[in-house]
Subunit: 258 residues, 2 copies
DNA sequence: ATATCATTGTGTCAGAAAAACACATTGGTA
DNA sequence: TACCAATGTGTTTTTCTGACACAATGATAT
């Protein structure tokens, strides 16, 4: 505990020796589980609210590398689908008062003109991860790290609700270009699961039969000789992505919209 | 001339009192003229090369406001279609050596740790303007401001060629969502002109009759009882965008691709 | 004045893609 | 063992797309 406070003090008062001022990033980390789109959130200390995992940019790393680092710290995962989608730069998006209040309650002395009291512009990233493989981990600056149903995140700090909304909107548009399912689903999955994912992202229902036809027409799925048992009804086939065809589709984009 | 140097000195050595360090923006300003996509470029002092119009962000303005300001300074236009599309954050994208060399040749003393010698991250914007209405204007930091054919920009400074490429790529994708012609064409235009614009952006030819059918099906165009005379052949009708339908299309997006 | 001709306006038709819809199969559950 | 909800696999209908044909027009050349 003592060490943790030491680390925090170091970060707050000397962080600008390593990080660039004014620039931050926030990650909207999506997962899919039990037919629900999930977002990974952090519990802020001394605040009822939750927040997106975020961070700052080291002086010798790109935005993408920084986002990758943040993602790895929160999920333990590497080589993850990660895309920047928007820069958020409202003048009052930072809340310096709240920050100072937090520091007081932590008993940390913040020097005048501290870098964290400056205005910050944040680059929004969204990541798609396999819910089963991610291992949520809080850091020294947060009390908890958990998955939330996308439609049940409540009121987050700052403009984070807005950021999530923008991420979802971006993902919706890119659904036509990127085979997004590959990153959100486990290796093996059923057609109904894939469809539910698409329906959740798009926010509308799709015809079961037309969905399957179109999906298979892309040629990026291989059907296995295996079925998912255990459900209360007819056991559906399992599929997995054909990595070769998937890569090709990534370059050329998928045809037609939903 | 003396005043200009004064202004430059002020900007270079005290700019960080007004602007945020580490953050810049670059504008890819597109125009359309004589069946060609054009980009507005600035001639850099003491350098053979040209550059994208860019700037920095005042401490009390958003990225969008800053981009709008830059755009206005270079074209005299306001309320322009302007979208951010990517953050460029390569570590070596800035060229501090070149900057210091430039300053030496200008005879300007640059203090140690000057804000402009830091690493900068740039937010790329693209703008669509009416070529006829824009009035290119160089500023105190450049020798000229001119339109270039998109396929004839030559080698630009830093990563500006890359930025233009990304802007074009983004515009191509958004062509399916946004009625982009509205911003690039004058108020009244002919169907062949609109088609040429689309062909130029997409880099491929389209069937004249199919193009018209699909375009009219969007319902965002009004045909006028007027024709463009003066051409050597049959006079084509003039069209203009139906602003109401255009706004609706902006929200909902256009269907189908090209 | 008139014939010329590249360009524009309008329409058709076949094939592809999407939307709407029907029925047999299956694997737990009652 | 009958039941039933969910899955697998079609067909039909409608819409969209791509390819193509022909008449109309308006400046230009003769």
């Amino acid at each position: 505990m003592m060490e943790q406070k030491q680390e925090m003090h170091e970060f707050i008062n000397r962080g600008d020796e390593h990080f660039m001022a004014h620039i931050s990033l926030d990650c909207v980390i999506f997962g899919f589980h039990a037919n629900q789109l999930k977002v990974l959130l952090l519990k802020i200390r001394h605040d009822d609210r939750w927040a997106l995992p975020g961070g700052f940019v080291l002086k010798e790393e790109t935005m993408e590398e920084a986002a990758d680092r943040v993602l790895n710290e929160r999920t333990g995962l590497n080589d993850i689908f990660l895309r920047q989608f928007h820069v958020f730069s409202d003048i009052h998006r930072s809340n310096t008062e709240k920050f100072l209040e937090l520091m007081r309650s932590e008993g940390i002395v913040v020097e005048e003109n501290n870098w964290l009291t400056k205005r910050f512009i944040s680059v929004g990233f969204y990541a798609l991860v396999d819910y089963e493989k991610a291992i949520p981990a809080e850091g020294w600056d947060s009390e908890a790290c958990e998955w939330f149903d996308l439609d049940n995140v409540g009121e987050l700090i700052l403009d984070h609700n807005k950021i999530i909304g923008a991420a979802l909107e971006t993902m919706r548009r890119q659904l036509n270009f990127l085979p997004i399912g590959y990153n959100l689903l486990p290796e093996k999955f059923t057609m109904p699961e894939l469809q539910k994912l698409y329906e959740t992202i798009l926010g509308k229902t799709l015809d079961r039969r037309n969905f399957q036809r179109k999906m298979l027409a892309y040629g990026i799925l291989d059907r296995l000789d295996e079925r998912r048992k255990g459900g209360a009804h007819k056991a559906p086939y399992l599929y997995k992505f054909n990595l070769e065809q998937y890569q090709k589709a990534l370059k050329e984009g998928l045809q037609g919209g939903w």
